[in-house]
Symmetry: C2
């Protein structure tokens, strides 16, 4: 039973916001700048997670490497992994940190190998070998908490550590939700997915048809009606699993989501 004492304990926990920023917000200098202005205004402990798929594809192309995709997922060979390490782990990550420092936000840029923070294992080979792609098996929440206690803002690129000295490309949505789940033991966690849309749409062709509250029943209903398809399916599956594993609240929306200035989707249990 959920006692009053327990409720009080939960209410007294420090809040933590985990924000995942999507590719299209990163790639445009102006969009990124507006987003980071909103990000630094968020009060309390916070973590930023980013990928950077299109930029990696662009750099790979310039270097003469072909990018292979399957159902929107990157098949990551050795060359691709090097490009991802350069672009996500270096270029995007360090530039975001520099911009945050300029906004007086004391950030630190990390990948999963740093402080042994995000541990993964190679995705099992079934019909397809995704190559250097890892699924998360452990988050080092003690290390991440120690940074938050020092009022440092971790900025994670979507790269995990697969053991044996190997870095793995990892889905940025999963990085955000796994961090939120792991940290929910010590914090009251909120998860924010910022992308190019205002939220989950009832009609893909109408950007204003935002579903403002989405629970599991409605979610199943929308899957049956084929309103929710493709990339949104695993993202939302991820959300409901996070809610069942300690994350308090989840929001999806565009760059204005952080200040709740526009319509957005709230996922509820």
């Amino acid at each position: 039973m959920f006692s009053i004492a327990n409720k009080k304990k939960v209410r007294m926990q420090q809040k933590l916001k985990i924000i995942k920023i999507g590719g299209k917000l990163i790639e445009n200098e102006q969009n990124l700048s507006v987003f980071l202005d909103d990000f630094v205004k968020l009060k309390g402990a916070k973590i930023l997670v980013h990928g950077g798929g299109n930029m990696a594809t662009e750099v790979a192309g310039k270097l003469g490497f072909e990018t292979k995709m399957l159902d929107g997922r990157r098949i990551t060979d050795k060359n691709s992994m090097e490009v991802i390490t350069m672009v996500y782990g270096g270029l995007i990550n360090k530039n975001i940190v520099a911009k945050l420092q300029h906004l007086e936000c004391n950030a630190i840029g990390l990948c999963g190998a740093d402080g042994n923070s995000i541990i993964s294992k190679k995705r099992p080979v079934k019909e397809v070998d995704f190559g250097y792609v890892g699924d998360i098996v452990k988050i080092n929440s003690a290390f991440i908490s120690s940074l938050l206690e020092q009022k440092i803002v971790p900025v994670f690129s979507a790269i995990s550590y697969g053991g044996e000295g190997q870095l793995f490309n990892t889905n940025a949505d999963s990085v955000a939700s796994e961090i939120a789940r792991a940290l929910s033991h010590d914090f009251e966690t909120e998860l924010y997915y910022c992308f190019e849309k205002k939220g989950v749409l009832a009609n893909a062709d109408d950007d204003e048809s935002v579903i403002e509250n989405l629970d599991r029943r409605k979610y199943k209903d929308l899957i049956e009606k084929k309103v929710i398809t493709d990339g949104m399916l695993p993202k939302l599956q991820n959300c409901f699993e996070a809610l069942e594993n300690g994350v308090e609240r989840i929001f999806l929306g565009n760059s204005e989501l952080l200040q709740k200035k526009s319509k957005h989707t709230k996922i509820i249990a």
Copy 2:
């Protein structure tokens, strides 16, 4: 006057080793592996500093960017700075951290913007505008010490934070010596420069002609005799300044230096 009590205090300080690894050791997978094996065996607090000049030049070339050098120094335009951020801050840095984690050394990869750790200002334009090149003005030793206290090993790429959201390319030797100087308030610091030679050579054509002990008098003498020239001059100037500013001991040698298995140069005050 230097009292016995003070001497005791110094003797009781925790030791810290700052190791700078040169480009040629990084670029060869086998050399790097041997070096890191020796590095993890070093007892106590330690910091690794790396650049990666040739690899950046190679990637820049593949991307179609021309690399401009002047007296061995890179003129860093916007494109060059992006490549350096990718190669030093991403590819080299994160791969070293992954390899160290594999050797059970809990490392964290940083550039100067991370935790506001290395602050620089743009090198003044005199005859030449070096572009995005920064000279160090401040080391955030409190942040670096807090990592060392947690038994975390910082791995710094030679990128500093110039304020205004800007990253700067910074000489890796200077990054190592400035960190050593700043941390010498809290630690008994030793500085190691690992490069392709066994040390400072009396005869540039004889790799065995290592000057094993070098003090300032001998150094001046060797400059006059033109034994020390070119790249070695600023490196050694840097060393003597570090010794005068709190660093206890400085060593120069090849990858075997860390385990003192071969001849090397010791710089003394």
